[in-house]
C-alpha cells in the first residue's frame, strides 16, 4: 500500500494506539501518561495536516486517500475509507480540537484529578471514534465508529462530570443508542434491497449504494425515517434535544468541548454523507419537515437561552440553535445551503468549543456555574479572560467578519431559493423565522455579556487572590481557536474552496 492509502488509517488509529499504550502504563506515571497522550494526538494532527496539504482541491468531489480492503467477508462489509471536500474539514477539526483539549488537560484536570490514566485513554479512544466516523465509506464501518464514541463519552461525563453527572451520562448514552438502533435498521434495509453493480450481491458500500432504487419511494421514505431518528438525535434537533443540556452542562470542560465541537457534527454529517445522497427522493419529501424542525430548533434554542441561569447550560442551548441553522441549510438541498452547513459546522466547532473552554475556566476559578454568581464584573477581575469571552460571544452571535457569520447568513439566503420541487413559500417563511432567531441570538448573547462581564465585581471575588487570569496552558490551547475564529471570518473561502466541489456534486442530485 502507498502512503496515501495508509494516511487515513494513521489519523484514525494512532490515537487508539496511544490509548492502548496509556492503558498499559502504571497509573502513578502522570507526567508520562500526559506526554504519551500529547504525542499520540499530536501525531494524529500532523497526519491530518498532511492530508490537508496533499488533498487535491480541484478534485474535492472525488474521495481521496482511499483504502478499500477486505474486512468481514461473510456480510460483505469492507474496510473502506476516504475523504472528500465535505469530510476533510471535519476530520481536520476533529484532530485539531482533540489535540487542543489534550494540551489544555496537561495542566488543568477536572476532579477526580488523580485518575489521569483513564481520562487521557478515554479522550484518545473518543478521537478514534470521531475521526473514523468522518472517514468511513462503508455503512458497517461507519456504524462501528459512530457507536465507539458512546462508551468513552459516558465515562468522561459520569466520572469527571459535575452535579447530576451519572444521570446525564446515562441519558446521553441511551438517547444516542436508541436513535442508532433505528439507524442500523435503515442501513440493513438498504443493504438487503441493494444490488452491487460489480458483484451482483448486496453491499454496504456508500458509494455503490448511490443511485439504487431500494424498491420504491415508499420504502425509501421509511428507511429515511430510520436514518433521520439516528442522526436527528445526535445533532440534536428539537424535539430530540433534551439529552443535550444535561450532558453538556454536567460534562467536564474537555468533554463539553468535544461534545459540542465534534460529536454534534456527526449527526449533521450523517445527513450529508448518507441520508441525502443515498435516498435523494426521500430527502426531497422529508426536506420541508426537517427545515421546519430546524427553525423550531433555532427559535426554541434561543428562547431557552434567555431563561438559563447556568452558563454551561446556556451555551448548550445555544448549540441547539446553531445546529438548527446547519440543518436549515441542509434542508434546502442546494449547494449554497449545504456549503453553509459545512461551514457552520466548522465555525460552531471552533466558537462553541472555545466558549466551553471559557466556561470551564470560569468554573475552575469561581467553583460555580451560575451567571449571576460569577458576574458581574469579570472584565474587571480577569481582564484577559473577560475580553476573550466578549470576543468569542460576539463571534457566536454572528457578527460579520467573524466565523459565526457566514454559515448562518448563507443558510438563510439558501432558504430563499430552495432546491427545485420544494415549497418555496414555506422555505421563505423559514428564512424569516430564522432571521428572527438571529435577533434573539444576539439578544441573549449580549445579555450574557452584560450580566457576566460588565459591571462592578463582587467583593467576595475581588478579594480572592486565588482567581488568576489566563494561564499558559490556556494560552496554548486557545490561541489557535481564536486565530481560527478571526481567520474564517475574514477569509471564509478557506472552507468554501474545499467543500464547494463536493457539495455541488451532491446538490446536482436535487436539481
Amino acid at each position: 500500500m502507498t502512503f496515501d492509502e495508509w494516511l487515513l488509517s494513521l489519523v484514525v488509529f494512532l490515537p487508539l494506539v496511544g490509548a492502548g499504550v496509556i492503558a498499559a502504563m502504571p497509573k502513578a506515571q502522570h507526567a508520562l501518561i500526559r506526554l504519551v497522550a500529547l504525542i499520540a494526538s499530536g501525531a494524529a494532527l500532523v497526519f491530518g495536516i498532511i492530508a490537508l496539504v496533499r488533498f487535491d482541491f480541484h478534485q474535492s468531489r472525488v474521495f481521496q486517500f482511499n483504502v478499500n480492503t477486505r474486512w468481514i467477508d461473510s456480510i460483505g462489509a469492507r474496510y473502506h475509507m476516504g475523504v472528500d471536500g465535505i469530510a476533510l474539514p471535519l476530520l481536520v477539526l476533529t484532530v485539531a480540537l482533540t489535540f487542543l483539549c489534550v494540551i489544555y488537560s496537561q495542566k488543568i484536570m477536572p476532579k477526580p484529578q488523580d485518575k489521569v490514566k483513564g481520562f487521557f485513554a478515554l479522550i484518545l479512544l473518543l478521537e478514534t471514534g470521531m475521526a473514523g466516523t468522518f472517514t468511513s465509506l462503508d455503512l458497517v464501518l461507519f456504524f462501528v465508529f459512530w457507536e465507539m464514541v458512546l462508551v468513552p463519552m459516558y465515562f468522561i461525563i459520569a466520572v469527571w462530570g459535575s452535579e447530576r453527572k451519572e444521570y446525564s451520562a446515562i441519558k446521553f448514552f441511551l438517547y444516542t443508542l436508541f436513535g442508532s438502533v433505528f439507524m442500523l435498521l435503515g442501513f440493513l434495509a438498504m443493504y438487503f434491497k441493494s444490488v452491487d453493480p460489480v458483484t451482483g450481491g448486496h453491499t454496504f458500500d456508500m458509494i455503490r449504494l448511490q443511485g439504487q432504487h431500494f424498491g420504491g419511494v415508499g420504502f425509501q421514505n421509511l428507511v429515511f425515517l430510520g436514518l433521520f431518528l439516528g442522526f436527528a438525535i445526535k445533532v440534536p434537533m428539537w424535539p430530540f434535544h433534551t439529552w443535550l443540556p444535561d450532558a453538556h452542562g454536567d460534562a467536564p470542560t474537555v468533554g463539553s468541548v468535544l461534545l459540542a465541537g465534534i460529536l454534534l457534527k456527526m449527526g449533521a454529517y450523517g445527513f450529508i454523507r448518507i441520508a441525502l445522497p443515498l435516498l435523494p427522493h426521500a430527502a426531497k419529501d422529508w426536506a420541508p419537515y426537517i427545515g421546519g424542525l430546524a427553525v423550531i430548533s433555532i427559535l426554541y434554542g434561543a428562547l431557552c437561552c434567555l431563561a438559563q441561569t447556568d452558563i454551561k447550560r446556556l451555551i448548550a442551548f445555544s448549540s441547539v440553535g446553531h445546529m438548527g441553522f446547519v440543518m436549515l441549510g441542509i434542508s434546502t438541498l442546494t449547494d449554497k445551503g449545504i456549503n453553509a452547513a459545512v461551514f457552520g459546522m466548522v465555525a460552531h466547532g471552533v466558537i462553541t468549543g472555545m466558549l466551553f473552554f471559557l466556561a470551564g475556566s470560569l468554573y475552575e476559578r469561581y467553583h460555580t456555574r451560575q451567571i449571576d454568581d460569577i458576574g458581574p464584573g469579570v472584565l474587571q477581575k480577569l481582564p484577559r479572560i473577560g475580553a476573550i469571552f466578549v470576543f468569542v460571544a460576539i463571534a457566536s452571535l454572528g457578527l460579520p467578519g467573524l466565523a459565526g457569520f457566514w454559515g448562518e447568513v448563507i443558510a438563510l439566503l439558501a432558504a430563499f431559493n430552495p432546491a427545485r420541487g420544494l415549497p418555496v413559500a414555506l422555505f421563505r417563511s423559514y428564512m424569516v423565522l430564522g432571521g428572527i432567531g438571529t435577533i434573539l441570538t444576539a439578544g441573549y448573547m449580549l445579555w450574557l455579556i452584560q450580566r457576566l462581564n460588565l459591571g462592578v465585581v463582587r467583593e467576595k471575588w475581588a478579594a480572592d487572590p486565588s482567581i488568576d487570569d489566563v494561564r499558559p496552558a490556556e494560552v496554548f490551547a486557545w490561541s489557535p481557536l481564536l486565530v481560527g475564529i478571526l481567520a474564517l471570518g475574514i477569509y471564509p473561502r478557506a472552507i468554501f474552496d474545499i467543500t464547494n466541489g463536493a457539495v455541488t456534486g451532491l446538490a446536482r442530485l436535487f436539481t
Binding site: 461473510s74 457507536e147 438502533v181 438487503f192
Partner: protein, 500 residues
C-alpha cells in the same frame, strides 16, 4: 436399518475417536492417581486433566483436513461441524480447569479429585455429542454431560443451597431426559430407525416402513417432545426454572460450566436433531422456536434487571442469551438454502462468541468470590480502584455480553439480527432490539458500579496465576473477534452439517 448399523471392532476408525480415547484415559488416570495423592497435593489432578485436554486437542488437530470420518456404522461422524464444536469444548474445558484450580483448593479441598473426574466425564459427553448422528448415541452423550453436572452442582456438601441446587437440577434434568426419550421413542416407532440421516430420508419422502395412522401427528408430537427436552438443557423459558437456583447454589466454576459448556452441548445436539433429522419439517419446529426465543429473551432480561446476586444475574443473562441463539432457528421455516445457511452460521457464531464472553465474566466472578463469597453485585462497587485490571476485564466482558458496539458480542448479535431481517421475520428482530436495550441497562449498571462508586471494602483481591491466565486469554480472544469478526464466522459456513 438396524441390521446395516452392525459393526465389528476391527472396522472402527480409531483415529476419528482418538480425542475421546485420550480423554477417557485421562479420566481413568485422574481416578487412580487421586487415590494416592495426599490432601495437599490434590490439585495435581488439574495437571493431569490439562494434559488430557491438551492431548485430545493435538489428536483433534491431526484430524484437520482429513475429510469426513464415519464409524460405528454411521453413528459417529467426524465432520467440520463436529470438529468446530470439539475444539470449542476443549478450549472451554481448559479454561474451566484454569478457573477452578485455586477455587477448589480453597472451597472443597479434599474432594477435588472427584471434581476433575466428573468434569472430564462431562467433557467426554460433550465431545461425543456433535459427532452423534444417531438418537441413541445422542441421548447417551447428553446424559454423560448432564449426570456429572448433578453431582458437581452439590459439591459444597455442607451448604444447603448447594444441595438444593443439585436436587433441583437433578429433578428437572431427569424429567427433561424422560420427555426427550419419549419423543425419540415415538420417532423410532414411525421411522424404524435411530439414525438421523435415515430419519430425515423417511420423513422427507413420507415412505414409512410400515403403515401407520396419523403419522403426521405422531411426528409432530415427537418433535415437540424432543424440543421440550432440549429446552430444559439450554434453559429456554418456560423450562428455565432450575437454572438460577442451581447456578446460585453451585460452586461458581460449576455455574460457569453449566451456563457455557453444558448449554453449548445442548445446542450442538439441538442443531443436529433440527437440521438433520427434522430438516424437512422446519415449518413445524421453527414457529415453536420463534415463541421460545421471544419468551426466553424477554423473561431472561426482565428478571435479570432486579437481581442483587451476580451469579443469579449471569444466570438470567445466560437465559436471555440462549434466546438470541434460538432466533436463527426460528426464522428458517420454508426459506431458501442461502437464508438457512446464513441463519445456521449466525447461531453457531453466536454460540462461539457467547461461550468466551460468558466464561470470561464468570472467571472474574470466581476471582472476586474468593474474597467475597456471597457474590453480591454490591461487592463490585469500586472494583476499579481496588483491582483495575480485573475491573477492566469485567467491563469488557459485560460490554460484549450487552452487545455494545464494536465488541465481539455486538457482532454476534449483528449476525443474528441480520439473519432475522434477511428471512423477513421482522417482529422477532424488533423483540431482539428491545431486549438488547434492556440488557444493556443491567450490564452497564454493573460497569457503572465498578467505576463510579467508592469501594465498600478496601484492599486488593489477589488473583491467582491460573485464573489470571484464563482471564487474559479470554480477553485476547474477545479482542481478536472484536477487530476481525470473521474470525469465528469463518468456520461456521464451512460446517458440513447442512447437506443441502
Amino acid at each position: 436399518m438396524i441390521a446395516q448399523t452392525a459393526f465389528s471392532l476391527s472396522s472402527v476408525d480409531v483415529h476419528a475417536i482418538l480425542p475421546e480415547i485420550i480423554i477417557t484415559a485421562a479420566i481413568i488416570a485422574v481416578l487412580v492417581v487421586d487415590l494416592f495423592l495426599p490432601d495437599r497435593a490434590k490439585s495435581l489432578n488439574a495437571v493431569i486433566s490439562m494434559a488430557g485436554v491438551g492431548g485430545a486437542a493435538i489428536a483433534l488437530m491431526s484430524l484437520i483436513g482429513s475429510g469426513t470420518h464415519r464409524t460405528f456404522g454411521g453413528m459417529f461422524v467426524l465432520d467440520n461441524y463436529a470438529m468446530l464444536f470439539k475444539f470449542l469444548f476443549l478450549a472451554v474445558a481448559a479454561m474451566l480447569i484454569f478457573m477452578s484450580v485455586n477455587y477448589l483448593n480453597e472451597v472443597v479441598r479434599n474432594i477435588q479429585g472427584e471434581f476433575y473426574f466428573l468434569l472430564l466425564t462431562a467433557l467426554l459427553g460433550m465431545l461425543v455429542m456433535p459427532s452423534s448422528r444417531d438418537l441413541i448415541a445422542l441421548f447417551i452423550a447428553l446424559e454423560t454431560v448432564t449426570v456429572p453436572g448433578f453431582i458437581i452442582a452439590g459439591f459444597k456438601k455442607r451448604d444447603n443451597s448447594s444441595n438444593e441446587a443439585a436436587v433441583k437440577f437433578f429433578l428437572f434434568g431427569v424429567l427433561a431426559s424422560a420427555v426427550m426419550l419419549f419423543g425419540m421413542a415415538l420417532i423410532y416407532g414411525v421411522t424404524k430407525s435411530t439414525n438421523l440421516y435415515e430419519i430425515a430420508r423417511v420423513l422427507s419422502t413420507k415412505q414409512y416402513p410400515m403403515p401407520i395412522h396419523h403419522a403426521d401427528s405422531v411426528v409432530f408430537a415427537s418433535i415437540l417432545l424432543i424440543i421440550v427436552g432440549f429446552g430444559f438443557k439450554v434453559s429456554a423459558v418456560p423450562f428455565h426454572f432450575w437454572a438460577p437456583d442451581t447456578y446460585e447454589g453451585s460452586p461458581v466454576p460449576v455455574a460457569a460450566f453449566l451456563s457455557v459448556a453444558s448449554k453449548a452441548a445442548g445446542f450442538a445436539g439441538l442443531f443436529q436433531i433440527c437440521f438433520v433429522a427434522f430438516g424437512s419439517h422446519s415449518s413445524v419446529w421453527a414457529p415453536g422456536f420463534a415463541i421460545l426465543a421471544a419468551l426466553t429473551m424477554t423473561v431472561g432480561n426482565v428478571i435479570a434487571l432486579q437481581q442483587k446476586n451476580i451469579v443469579r444475574l449471569l444466570a438470567y443473562s445466560s437465559i436471555a442469551q440462549a434466546g438470541y441463539i434460538l432466533i436463527p432457528l426460528a426464522v428458517v421455516a420454508n426459506k431458501s438454502v442461502s437464508i438457512q445457511k446464513e441463519a445456521f452460521a449466525a447461531a453457531l457464531t453466536y454460540i462461539l462468541i457467547y461461550s468466551f464472553m460468558q466464561l470470561g465474566a464468570f472467571a472474574v466472578v470466581i476471582a472476586v468470590s474468593r474474597r467475597h463469597p456471597d457474590n453480591l453485585i454490591a461487592d463490585y462497587e469500586g472494583l476499579s480502584a481496588r483491582e483495575p485490571g480485573l475491573a477492566f476485564a469485567m467491563l469488557f466482558f459485560l460490554l460484549s455480553l450487552a452487545g455494545m458496539i464494536p465488541t465481539a458480542g455486538f457482532w454476534a448479535k449483528f449476525f443474528v439480527f441480520r439473519s432475522a431481517i434477511g428471512a423477513g421475520t421482522l417482529w422477532l428482530a424488533a423483540v431482539m432490539v428491545v431486549n438488547t436495550l434492556i440488557g444493556l441497562y443491567y450490564y452497564l449498571s454493573i460497569g457503572a458500579k465498578m467505576y463510579l462508586r467508592e469501594p465498600r471494602e478496601r484492599g486488593p483481591i489477589q488473583v491467582p496465576y491460573a485464573l489470571a491466565t484464563a482471564i487474559v486469554l479470554m480477553v485476547i480472544i474477545i479482542v481478536a473477534v472484536t477487530v476481525y469478526p470473521d474470525f469465528f464466522n469463518h468456520f461456521s459456513p464451512r460446517s458440513t452439517l447442512l447437506a443441502f
